[in-house]
Amino acid sequence: MMTLETIAEKLSLKCKCCWENLNREVTGGYAGDLLSDVMANSEGGDIWVTRQVHQNIVAVAALKEHAGIIIVQGATPEQDTIDKAQKEGIPILISALPEFEVVGRIHRLLYPEQG
């Protein structure tokens, strides 16, 4: 079982909120910055990788029951985004790496058999 905690550790992510939920299982992943697309195509249990920092990301992640959100490129979420994530229990993790790198590394962790 792959957890948020393992991903956070392997990718050296900085957790901004909801540490208590890092034991959640990650069953898949989705990358996207257009929230309409993420709403339409992502799935429950996904780790969502995005560059978008507006507080609507929390609503989308809660609605789709994502395991958590990774914000890439070292972007800083707005305080209201963090507050809302805290309330919804959605962990927000930050990576200094670009989206492509983050997705590649998570993909290798989730699907090692695909090389």
Partner: protein, 245 residues
């Protein structure tokens, strides 16, 4: 005498890199008049240098020009900012340029011509106008309001740079004065598609980047006179002013 005025509150000039060079002030005014428009707003991407020249070009005509700008927020949501006068627009412009990175590449994105009312090129805007500012959406709306302007979410139904495409839905806490619907969809069908947005006034505009598109759409407003103050009343549905849907 109160009557119905035809308003097109979103169009570009040749200052926007994605608009054609033929969208210079005098040609744009001529075409707007030919399309029987009463009020137009000039709203170039993150810039406003051509607004006063369009006003000059329209000086001896019945066409009223509302100063405006289409700001790209940090979320890459496009927001129309409309003002009564050029001073408020200049204040927003200063704020926007302070938060907009990059230099335009004409070959890649197009030319950004500042053209006066005589059709003479005054210069070229060097900023990367096709880019986005790093100003959060809420701050753009708050700044426009603090300057006495109107903030309207652009083409909310469009997959690119519309608020629903970028952010999934219209956040509850943003006090937009109206939402703009693309001419292809129109207000009536938008009302059916977005019942949850019933609290907002809808307008529709041509968002013209080409002369031939200027007349593609307009919003009909019942006003006392063609002015910014009257448009504000119509958006708020106050004092007998309103939008005809």
């Amino acid at each position: 005498m109160p009557r119905v005025f035809r308003c097109n509150l979103h169009m570009h000039t040749c200052l926007s890199p994605c608009a054609e060079l033929d969208m210079y002030p005098e040609a744009l005014v001529r075409e707007a008049l030919a399309c029987s428009l009463d009020i137009i707003a000039i709203s170039d991407h993150n810039a406003s240098e051509n607004v006063r020249y369009v006003q000059s070009a329209a000086r001896d005509t019945p066409l009223v020009i509302i100063p405006g700008m289409e700001v790209a927020t940090r979320e890459e949501v496009h927001v129309l900012a409309l003002f009564e006068g050029l001073d408020e627009l200049a204040s927003l412009q200063e704020f926007v340029y302070g938060r907009l990175q990059g230099v335009n590449d004409e070959d890649a994105f197009g030319c950004q011509a500042i053209v006066n009312e005589q059709g003479e090129v005054e210069g070229f805007n060097e900023h990367l106008l096709i880019g986005a500012t790093d100003i959060p959406l809420n701050d753009v709306v708050d700044t426009v309001h603090s300057l006495g302007g109107l903030a309207i979410a652009s083409h909310i139904d469009r997959p690119a740079f519309g608020i629903i495409g970028q952010l999934g839905f219209v956040p509850d806490d943003i006090p937009f004065d109206a939402l703009e619907i693309s001419w292809g969809l129109g207000i009536a069908r938008a009302r059916q598609r977005y019942p949850e947005l019933g609290r907002f006034p809808f307008i529709t505009s041509s968002d013209a980047h080409y002369l031939k598109d200027i007349g593609k759409a307009c919003t009909r407003m019942y006003l006392e006179s063609p002015s910014f103050a009257e448009i504000r009343l119509a958006l708020a549905s106050r004092d007998g002013r309103y939008i005809l849907e």
